[in-house]
Amino acid sequence: MARVFLNHVVKKYGKETAVEDLTLEVRDGEFVALFGPPGAGKTTILRMIAGLEDVTSGEIWIGDKLVNDLSPAERDVAMVFQSFALYPTKTVFENLAFPLRKRKVPPDEIEKRVKEIAAVLNISHLLEKKPGTLSGGERQRVALGRAMVRRPQLFLFDEPLTNLDAKLRLHMRAELKKLQREMGQTAIFSTPDDVEAISMADRIAVLSKGRLIQYDTVDNIYERPYNLYVAQNIGSPQINTVEGSLVTEGGGPLLDLGFTKINLSHLGDVLKGFEGKSLILGVRPPDITPSTRKTDDISFRGRVEIIEDTGAEVYANVGVDSTTFTVLIPSGMRLGVGDEVWLSLNPKRIHIFEKSSGKALL
């Protein structure tokens, strides 16, 4: 059990800045995702916490200890890598027992702890098998078990689900989340997949090019993205964006999109100073209501370009002027390619970003 605190951590490789002035706190027992595309700095951060990389400057605290100068072994951290290696000639039991044997834990204690971990991971029936005969998911669980058996105070997972196929990834997502909660251990994982981040983590650190963009709860990241980058990289299908300008008409502020004007008077003072400036409207597919008729003053007309039916959900791409909106089609509504459709945005569920900086205005 431990709190992790990174205080103004910087990592440079020569002139290249891999991690830029990162301050981040992971509370005791928390499950935190480091999310971003390749090159965002996720793995470097994990490796610095594990002690596999030095920091260029700044402090790393685990529990109440400053660990900058501690070796990886002294940090009491377990890191599970993206491509995990098991000993192919050893049984699952021996693979799990190995870290304990190295630490000279007595045999009966080893037996007890291996069985305990195997039960938690649902691999008790595999203990006598060799890794080569296991499925990808089973091997993944053995690798997790080997990290867990030492009872480290902190878990680090580097893209734990990336190398699994789609079905297994979905299954392991729930497993891993359940496991972390049951064990109550602090854990940090990295992922390039937004769905993995929002479905598993308590809080998400969104990274871009070595910089922390937003660190918040899953709800806040989704509902109140700090900027366009966060909005466009979290949530799938991707948020719709369209450029407009702020005008004042009839005393109230309106966002003029060309094909419709959205009343923004509920935003009040937030808009001060943005008159005449370019803004970006963001709206997620479920927050657009499609209809075969004009429903209100701000609804606008488009044409269906494509339908994507996943079985459980139907999405339409609707062309409006020169932009395309992805829209969730309610079950029961029949639409075909080429059909005309009216779209209405829920004004309370829209996001407004300043075009020049990308920052959210609310």
């Binding site: 079905k167 979905l170 929002i198 799938s236 494509i306 994507e308 039916d309």
Partner: protein, 359 residues
């Protein structure tokens, strides 16, 4: 333009049976996906259509002509592997002209054909650009264009989106679908990703261990899977598949692991079952509604909540089995709470456990 027909096609590699007695008809202008896990025979099937492998038995027809003995380059098909495989350092024009120059077309003919194809693909304004400077979506169109200039009757695509990240895959999927809506060239597309198949195809052939399991429209595969394999493979999150045993008396009961269900609401669909028969009860996560409290068809306790933004997946422990539910509203229930599960009886799928077949 052409239809493609496979009749009783089989293929072995040594002792390994790659494709067994496959009969499949791909209609002219349609988009068909061959879907299945690795090793199911889908790529072998595609390679046989392309002429890169020859079937041991059976016939392959393209546009009504038997092509078993026709070499690949005379089959009038275009095989596209990865979309980003374009020639670097060449303009878009030269990329498109390449296959025609190889065939010694005249300059005039090439210019005319390249422009024609570029216009269909809406890349005419890009012809003089370096192909590497294009967006990924534009590159995809160039790669397809290069396959199109020869005017093939059929496109064969082998997992073209596999190496892209999830977000880009979604964009490319839409582009590809739009394109097919416009050019309507018969397309056979191999993938292991059920979402790609569901969203792209007019019809999907689901394969497993060399055998075609079901060949149908996406909506029929989703709503009426023919067997357990299809039920488990199509749809995400996967269909809940719960094993049970029939107890038949005056009423029909289903005994599950840790709980029993009276089949009163749907016993009409269980007329053919006999006492003691083992069934699999299937219901999709999106077809279950959850309310706090008791009194549902099933009752359980929430173990895990996975938020997905606008929806969430709930893992609910029912008896000793986990049932997954896709909640479209914001989850109003917490981990640990007891909930009732409701579902429409027509959304329940029954399979014979022994044969795997739908009842």
């Amino acid at each position: 333009m052409a239809d493609v027909r496979l009749v009783g096609v089989s293929k072995r590699f040594g002792k390994q049976e790659a494709v067994r007695n496959l009969t499949l008809e791909v209609q002219d202008k349609s988009f068909v996906c061959l879907l299945g896990p690795s090793g199911c025979g889908k790529t072998t099937t595609l390679r046989m259509i392309a002429g890169l492998e020859s079937p041991d038995t059976g016939e392959i027809y393209i546009g009504g002509n038997l092509v078993n003995k026709v070499p690949p380059h005379e089959r009038d098909i275009a095989m596209v592997f990865q979309f980003y495989a374009i020639y670097p350092g060449m303009t878009v024009f030269d990329n498109l002209a390449f296959p025609l120059r190889q065939r010694k077309w005249t300059k005039g003919e090439i210019a005319k054909r390249v422009r024609e194809v570029a216009e269909i693909l809406q890349i005419a304004h890009l012809l003089e650009k370096d192909a590497m400077s294009l967006t990924v979506g534009e590159k995809q169109r160039v790669a397809l264009g290069r396959a199109m200039v020869r005017d093939p009757k059929v496109f064969l695509l082998d997992e073209p989106l596999t190496n892209l990240d999830a977000r880009l895959r979604a964009v490319m999927r839409v582009e590809l679908k739009k394109l097919h809506n416009r050019i309507k060239t018969t397309t056979i597309y191999v993938t292991h990703d059920q979402l790609e198949a569901m969203t792209l195809a007019d019809k999907i052939g689901v394969m497993e261990s060399g055998v075609l399991q079901q060949y149908d429209t996406p909506s029929n595969l989703y709503n009426r899977p023919a067997n357990l394999f299809v039920a488990g493979f199509i749809g995400s999150p996967t269909m809940n598949l719960l094993e049970c045993r029939v107890r038949k008396g005056e009423r029909i009961y289903l005994d599950f692991d840790g709980f029993t269900l009276a089949a009163d609401g749907f016993d009409g669909r269980l007329k053919s079952v006999h006492d003691g028969m083992e069934l699999v009860f299937g219901v999709r996560p999106s077809d279950i509604r959850v309310e706090e409290g008791g009194g549902g068809l099933l009752n359980g306790r929430i173990e895990v909540i996975e938020p997905l933004g606008d929806k969430a997946i709930l893992d609910i422990l029912v008896g000793r089995t986990v049932v997954r539910v896709l909640e479209y509203r914001k989850a109003r229930v917490d981990v640990g709470s007891s909930v009732a599960l409701y579902m429409d009886s027509e959304k329940i799928h029954f399979f014979d456990k022994k044969t795997g077949l739908r009842l």
